[in-house]
Structures are given as structure tokens and as C-alpha cells.
């Protein structure tokens, strides 16, 4: 079988005048988990339903397991696509037992099906639950049954539509680790839809950020986080602050002082530097004011107002104390590259990596 489990080429889906998905290109390699993340209404669930065959694309071609399932006026119905789908509301059949739910998609002799059901329930940690009814289970258990049911017929790809959003935070974290483990152990190719950036970065081998029906960027989670290619992706991940500044030969001149990083941009270009709370350090005394302190267990998150009124955040060890109202100086010296976004010009809004240029390299060489 081909190494590509899902391929979408120039896929579009409109509902009347509304374009839910436009010109979408996406490739998911076998055995990997792709997390599809974006604000609500960005078209991620529609994308999932297009792959499952529950919606038909108005344009483009979709391949699942190397075979065209939609495109060129040809559509394979969902029951012949071999995709598993885990719904946000689990969609367990209330009139069937857990065992019958998991065995619903299986064919073949009864004994073989029973064995597969037991195997799947063991995989999700619910061995022996065959005879229970769905409503007797807790939310987390129902979600695991839904997962077992979708995995039982050995789908080519597993699609998960915000599967944890109905669970409370604690259970959500636990189940997320468990599901990631199950997916990797069974070597399942999966597309995971979520609006939670943290969940996307955790679950995905690759993460695709969607915006207004388009894919903005697909990358490994680390790359996406540290090198967002657009301001939208940057703003979406890791609750960043944007510091306006100007490129100078010595670095980027900002309200919080000179940042010794050099984007490959002409001097004088107006940029916004993407800084996260861990990039900003605080020193006592100065023109900035501490606005608030948020206790976060081992760390404190400080909210600091710069003289211009703009606020930035700074993460400090719990041993460091500044009182609200105290005067401080913000120092940005991350020791690693940061991303800048030119404010105007042809590359406006586009991520440009600013690196620490080796000092006086030309003089030595």
C-alpha cells in the first residue's frame, strides 16, 4: 500500500455562498497522527467529514489509502472508505451493549467477532465491559468505547473530531496521553481535530493550523511553535506578545530595549517581534510597571505594562518576587532565535527568523 494514507488536493467545500473549506492541500503519511487545529468555524470539522465521506467536496480530489474516494464527479460512500470516526459526542448506540457497539462494524463468524471485540476492549482498558449499556458508563469510558468501536474494523485512517472536549480537564489530560499511546502502539494513521492548541501540539506528529477554510501551516509541533510562518499561526500558539520595533545594524530596537537578534531585513524595517513569557526577563527598577502576578505553582506569570501602555508577560521562578505596581525593566535576551513579522511592505505578516549573528565574524575571518 502507498506510504500516503490521506491526500487532499485543492479541495473546496461550499454551502451556498459560504466557503467552509477552500483550496486545501493536505498529506498524511501512514502511521502518523496529524492534528488539525484552528479557531472554531475555520473548517476543520468539515475537512474531517470530507475525508470520512459524510460531506462531498465541491472541488478537488481526496484520496484515502491510495485510492481516489472523492473527486472528478466521483464519490465513494462512507461505508466503503474504511475510515473510523470518533465523534465529539461519542455517538454510541444507546440500544446496544458495549460489546455490540464495538462489534457493530465487524463482519465474519460470531466467535471471531467476539475475539476482536474483547481484544479492542482490552486495548482501551475496558476488558470485561462487553455486557454493559452505554449509558451506564462514565464520559471517559464512553469515549474509550467509541475509540474501540472505530478501531475494531482496522480502518485505514482514524478520524477524531474534538474527542475530548466533553470531558473535564483532569480526565482530558489523562485520556489524551492514553489515546496517543494507543494510536502509536497500533500504528494507526489518524487525523485529530481540536481547537485546543496545547492538545494539538501534544497529540500531533504533525500539526496543521487552519484559518478560514485554508491550511495556514503544517509542521512538526516544535517547528510550528518556534517558527510560525504567519502572524496568525504565531498568535494562535503559546499566547504570545508582539513587541513593535525597528531593525538596526545592532539588532531590533524595541520599547524593551535592544534585542540582539538580526532578521534578514533591511535596516529601518518596522517589525513586530514575537516574544513569549519565557523570553522576557525582569530587572528591578525602570520605566515598566508590574500590573499583575498570576500564581502558577512552580512559576509566577507577571503581566507588565511598558511605558507605551502595551503589556508583555514574563515567567519567573517562584522565588522571584515583584509586587504589583513595582517598577521594573523588561529584558529580552532569549539566547535563541525569535520570529519577526514585518509590519508593512511586500512581506507584511510573514514570519522572518531573527538569529544572533556571530559577532564581528568578518573582522576575524
Amino acid at each position: 500500500m502507498s506510504a500516503v494514507a490521506i491526500r487532499c488536493v485543492a479541495v473546496g467545500k461550499s454551502y451556498g455562498a459560504v466557503q467552509a473549506v477552500r483550496d486545501l492541500d493536505l498529506t498524511v503519511r501512514r502511521g502518523t497522527v496529524l492534528a488539525l487545529v484552528g479557531p472554531s468555524g475555520c473548517g476543520k470539522t468539515t475537512t474531517l467529514r470530507l475525508i470520512a465521506g459524510l460531506e462531498h467536496p465541491t472541488r478537488g480530489v481526496i484520496e484515502v489509502g491510495g485510492q481516489v474516494v472523492a473527486g472528478c464527479g466521483y464519490v465513494v460512500p462512507p461505508e466503503r472508505r474504511r475510515v473510523g470516526l470518533v465523534f465529539q459526542d461519542y455517538a454510541l448506540f444507546p440500544h446496544l451493549t458495549v460489546g455490540e457497539n464495538v462489534g457493530y462494524g465487524l463482519a465474519g463468524p460470531r466467535r471471531q467477532r467476539a475475539r476482536r471485540v474483547a481484544e479492542m476492549l482490552r486495548l482501551v482498558g475496558l476488558a470485561g465491559f462487553e455486557g454493559r449499556m452505554a449509558h451506564e458508563l462514565s464520559g471517559g469510558e464512553q469515549q474509550r468505547v467509541a475509540l474501540a468501536r472505530a478501531l475494531a474494523p482496522e480502518p485505514v485512517v482514524l478520524l477524531l473530531d474534538e474527542p475530548f472536549s466533553n470531558l473535564d480537564a483532569e480526565l482530558r489530560r489523562a485520556l489524551r496521553e492514553e489515546v496517543r499511546e494507543i494510536l502509536h502502539r497500533s500504528g494507526t494513521t489518524a487525523v485529530f481535530v481540536t481547537h485546543d492548541q496545547e492538545e494539538a501540539l501534544f497529540m500531533g506528529d504533525e500539526v496543521a493550523v487552519m484559518r478560514a477554510g485554508r491550511i495556514e501551516q503544517v509542521d512538526r509541533p516544535e517547528d510550528l511553535f518556534h517558527f510560525p510562518r504567519t502572524r496568525f499561526v504565531a498568535a494562535f500558539l503559546g499566547r504570545p506578545d508582539f513587541l513593535p520595533g525597528r531593525v538596526t545594524p545592532a539588532g531590533v530596537e524595541t520599547e524593551a530595549g535592544l534585542i540582539p537578534l538580526h532578521p534578514p531585513l533591511p535596516a529601518g524595517t518596522a517589525v513586530e517581534v514575537l516574544v513569549r513569557a519565557d523570553d522576557c526577563d525582569l530587572r528591578p527598577g525602570g520605566a515598566a510597571t508590574v500590573v499583575a502576578r498570576h500564581f502558577q505553582g512552580p512559576q509566577h506569570l507577571y503581566q507588565v505594562r511598558l511605558p507605551s501602555g502595551r503589556t508583555v508577560h514574563s515567567l519567573q521562578k517562584h522565588t522571584v518576587h515583584y509586587a504589583p505596581g513595582e517598577a521594573v525593566t523588561v529584558v529580552v535576551d532569549p539566547g535563541h532565535p525569535l520570529v519577526c513579522f514585518p509590519v508593512d511592505g511586500p512581506r507584511a505578516g510573514e514570519g522572518v527568523l531573527a538569529v544572533a549573528r556571530p559577532q564581528r565574524r568578518s573582522a576575524c575571518g
Partner: protein, 536 residues
């Protein structure tokens, strides 16, 4: 009552309903839709093909008088049912009325009394030389009571035996009302009556309107009560026109005016966005606190008892009185069994046929979007505007002229029942379908099942309670149905309903009592199954 749900707008947009309708659903739906529309279309053709004398009939002062009487009666009955039902609904759901559970059942009971039985009871109890007058004569020598025949009788009968439509609707509305809204209004500084008027009433209003609409439509379509109380409205005029003179053009023209009237009423009530609203908030809804009545519970109890005495105890008592009187004078009971079996068989057959016919339409309206689904919803809704007498008349024409093989057969009668009760059945089914989340069907598709297999293995098992409710409802209403049964029954076929009507019409009250009681009893059984579904 379940049938009210058909008057609700389609479930709030899920947004993702498929537009393309598979032939599996579209073809049966189209057949049923045509069956609903064809009779009326045929009436139009017949009326249009008639000569100028039809226009003379339509523009005659008599038609104007009938129109005025029909409207007056519908208006009066609607107003009085609302005034009676809203306080009753509040008392039985929102207060600490002693025995509230029992009152909830008892106050809905008048629904099982068919209007012609109600008419018969009121006529023999309150009419000239009736039971009340005899009693008063013996006690106080009263020789004359105000005449109950005509408008007062029709108004009284229809109010007493249709107010449960409003009651059940308002009660459902009150049950669905989030008590938090009333509390929010109070935290915003509104209290008591003002909070009720500004926060509760606007939300209850759609439910009151839905119930009132049903009562108004029922009154316009009613044949039994008005003919028993000798108050001429459209239905009786059509019947007389048809029976007495066999003037089919005239009857068809009058029937069209009646349909225009009910259709206009239905259309006027169908303003978008004004249907019963749904709870917006998230989180579990709480059970509302009960209002303590304090010393007011005595007048409240008195009121409930009064309504029950007149609407439940009086009919049963009068029927029992006539039954015992008849037995004492050697009236044979045996004769009742044949009509009873016929009624049961017709009711059961009608339940099967109607529910089967309603299913594709309900599925189309509940599961798909696009013009076809919209049309299905409209057809079901429009069915409420078809009075029994009109459907019966249309089917008499169609079977006599186009398919003589069906003329005067039970099959034609079943078609009439299916057309008449389609809205109720489709409403109950649609409500059941709306509770099955589409994601369950989609999950089944992704697990390798075809649409037909999904329908069989997921949808049908999940809507089984709705199917049972729809069948019970159709069974109940078929047994009570009078005008279509009168017009379409094969010669010699007698049901409980036609037997009550003919016996009472000829003044054999004792002979009408046994079938009437049996009818009430059987109807109660159906209502009991429905009530069990209504209670959580």
C-alpha cells in the same frame, strides 16, 4: 400531547443536514405527499367545473351566516379554553397543589371524550326535559331551563372537551422552561407578577398559541358537537348539502371555503421564529421550585374539582345512567360488540397504515435539508388544515369517479384516516427522530453500513418508542373519528362512533350509552400509554 410537536418548527438547525435525498426516502414520501394533496386538488377541479349556481350558493347570505357562526364559535371556544387551561396548567405543574400528580392525569382526561359523546351528554343532561331540569323540577318545580341547543351548547361542549389541547401544550412549555430565567429576572430586580409577565409569559406564549391553534382548528373541523347541539357551521352545512340533496358541487364549494378558512388560520399562525422556543442555556436544567399556595389551595382545589365534575364525572355519570336505564328496560348489550370489533380493527389498521405513510415524510423533514425536505414539512403541517368532512367528501368523489373499485370500501376509509391523521403521526415520529442524533447514523455509515442498513439497525430501534406513541395516537383518534367514517363507511358497516351518532340522533339515548362508554374506555387506554411517555 404529542401531536403538538408537529407544530414546532424543525429542530434547531444542525447545519449539516444532507441535501440529496436517496430514492429510498424520496419515492415513498412523494407517493404519500400526492395522496394528501390529490383529494383537495380534486375538490378544486370539481368546484371549478360546476355552473354559476355554485357561485350563487357561495355568495348567498346563508353562506355568510355560516361563516360568521363558524368564526364566532372558533373564537369563543379558543378564548375560553385558554382562560381555563393556563391556570390549570400552572396549578398542576408549578404549585404545591395537594395531589398534583393525580390532578395532572385527571385534568387531561376530557380529551378521551369524543365531541359527539360530549354533545350527547350535555344535550341529555342540560337540554329541555333533560336530567338537570327533571331534577330541578322535582326539587323546586322548575319547568324551563335556558335553551342549551345552538351556540351555548356547542361552545360549552367544545370548551369542556378540547381545553386539554391547550393544557397539555402549556404544561409541556412550563416543563421545558428554565427556572433560572425566572430567577435571573428576579435578580435583575423584577418580582412577582412583573417577573412572570416579562420573563415567563413571553416564553410560554408560543405554547399557548400552539394549543389555541389546535383548538381553533379542531372547532372549525368539528362535526360531532355542532350537529348534536344543532348549531349550523360549515361542517354540518356540507354534510346536509351532501346528504340531503346529493348536491356534490355545492358541498365541494362549501368544503373549499372551509379549507380556505383553516388554511388561512394555519398560515397566519405560521410566522417564522415564533414557534415554541428551546432552552438556550447549557448545563443541567433544574426542577423548578413549587410555589406554595398557602390558604389559596382551597379555592384551587375547588376549581380543579369543579372542572373535573363537569368535564369528567358528568359525562361518565350521564352515560352510566343511560346504560343502567337501558339495561333495566331490556336494551340488549350484545349489539355493541360488532361495532366495537369493527372500531378496533379499523383503529389498528389505520395506526399501521398511517404510521407507515408518515415515516418517510417525517424522515425527510427531520433528517434532510433542501426544497424537498421543506416541502415534506409543509405538507405535514398543511394536513392540520384538512377537516375530516372535507377529506371524506373528496375521497367520495375520487373513488366514485376515478377508482370505482375502491368506492365504499374499507380501503378508501383507511386512506382518509391516513390523510387526516398524518400530521399527528408525523409529528410524533419527527420528535422521536429529532432525539436521535445524526452522528449515531453517521457513525454507523463509517463502520461500513449502507443507508438502508443504518435505517434498519440504528434509526428504527432508536425511534421505536416514537413509533409506538404515533401508533397509539392514531389508534385513539381513528376510533373517535366521526364525519369521515359516516361518509365513507361501506353500507352496513357500523363502528362505535357511527352507532353513538345514529342512536343519539334518533333519540335512543339508552342505546347510545354502551358504545359511548366503551369508546371512552378504549380511548383512555390509549391516552394512558401516551401519558406514560409524557411523564419523565
Amino acid at each position: 400531547m404529542l401531536e403538538l410537536r408537529a407544530l414546532e418548527p424543525a429542530a434547531v438547525g444542525r447545519g449539516r443536514r444532507p441535501v440529496g435525498v436517496p430514492p429510498l426516502v424520496a419515492v415513498p414520501a412523494a407517493v404519500v405527499g400526492a395522496a394528501v394533496l390529490l383529494p383537495v386538488a380534486y375538490l378544486v377541479v370539481r368546484a371549478a367545473g360546476a355552473g354559476p349556481e355554485v357561485w350563487e350558493l357561495l355568495w348567498s347570505p346563508r353562506t355568510g351566516r355560516i361563516l360568521l357562526r363558524s368564526l364566532l364559535l372558533a373564537g369563543a371556544v379558543t378564548a375560553s379554553t385558554v382562560l381555563l387551561a393556563v391556570p390549570l396548567a400552572w396549578l398542576t405543574t408549578r404549585t404545591d397543589l395537594p395531589g398534583a400528580r393525580l390532578w395532572r392525569v385527571v385534568t387531561a382526561l376530557p380529551l378521551v371524550v369524543p365531541s359527539y359523546v360530549g354533545g350527547f351528554v350535555v344535550a341529555t343532561a342540560l337540554g329541555p326535559a333533560g336530567l338537570l331540569q327533571q331534577l330541578l323540577y322535582r326539587l323546586a318545580g322548575v319547568e324551563r331551563l335556558p335553551d342549551v341547543y345552538g351556540f351555548p351548547g356547542a361552545w360549552l361542549v367544545l370548551t369542556l372537551f378540547t381545553y386539554p389541547y391547550v393544557l397539555l401544550s402549556v404544561r409541556a412549555g412550563w416543563r421545558g422552561l428554565d427556572p433560572a430565567l425566572e430567577e435571573v429576572a428576579r435578580t435583575l430586580g423584577e418580582r412577582g407578577w412583573r417577573a412572570f409577565r416579562r420573563a415567563v409569559l413571553p416564553q410560554l406564549w408560543p405554547w399557548i398559541r400552539a394549543g389555541a391553534l389546535l383548538v381553533a382548528l379542531y372547532t372549525l373541523a368539528d362535526f360531532g358537537a355542532v350537529s348534536m347541539m344543532q348549531f349550523e357551521t360549515f361542517t354540518t352545512a356540507i354534510y346536509v348539502q351532501y346528504q340531503a340533496s346529493f348536491d356534490r358541487h355545492g358541498a365541494a364549494a362549501l368544503a373549499l371555503v372551509l379549507v380556505a378558512l383553516t388554511g388561512a388560520l394555519l398560515a397566519a399562525a405560521d410566522r417564522p421564529g415564533r414557534g415554541p422556543q428551546h432552552r438556550v442555556g447549557l448545563g443541567p436544567g433544574r426542577r423548578p421550585p413549587r410555589v406554595p399556595l398557602g390558604p389559596w389551595r382551597w379555592p384551587a382545589l375547588l376549581g380543579c374539582t369543579g372542572v373535573t365534575l363537569v368535564a369528567v364525572v358528568l359525562p361518565l355519570g350521564v352515560l352510566l345512567y343511560w346504560l343502567l336505564l337501558g339495561l333495566a328496560h331490556g336494551e340488549p348489550l350484545v349489539l355493541t360488540w360488532r361495532p366495537a370489533l369493527t372500531s378496533l380493527a379499523l383503529g389498528a389498521a389505520s395506526a399501521v397504515v398511517t404510521v407507515a405513510a408518515a415515516f418517510p415524510l417525517a424522515l425527510l423533514a427531520a433528517r434532510f435539508s433542501g426544497p424537498l425536505a421543506l416541502l415534506a414539512g409543509r405538507i405535514v403541517y398543511a394536513g392540520y388544515a384538512l377537516p375530516g368532512i372535507v377529506v371524506a367528501l373528496a375521497l367520495v368523489f375520487v373513488t366514485a369517479r376515478v377508482v370505482p373499485a375502491l368506492y365504499q370500501t374499507p380501503a378508501a376509509l383507511l386512506v382518509a384516516y391516513a390523510v387526516l391523521f398524518l400530521p399527528q403521526a408525523a409529528g410524533a415520529l419527527r420528535a422521536a427522530l429529532a432525539r436521535v442524533h445524526p452522528s449515531q447514523e453517521e457513525a454507523a455509515r463509517t463502520l461500513g453500513r449502507t443507508p438502508a442498513q443504518v435505517l434498519w439497525s440504528v434509526t428504527l430501534p432508536l425511534v421505536r418508542p416514537g413509533v409506538a406513541a404515533a401508533a397509539a395516537l392514531v389508534f385513539l383518534t381513528t376510533m373517535k373519528e366521526l364525519p369521515a367514517t359516516l361518509l365513507l363507511s361501506p353500507i352496513g358497516m357500523e363502528t362505535l362512533a357511527t352507532r353513538v351518532w345514529s342512536a343519539a340522533g334518533e333519540g335512543f339515548f339508552a342505546r347510545a350509552a354502551a358504545p359511548a362508554l366503551l369508546l371512552v374506555l378504549l380511548s383512555s387506554l390509549s391516552l394512558a400509554t401516551l401519558a406514560r411517555q409524557e411523564e419523565p
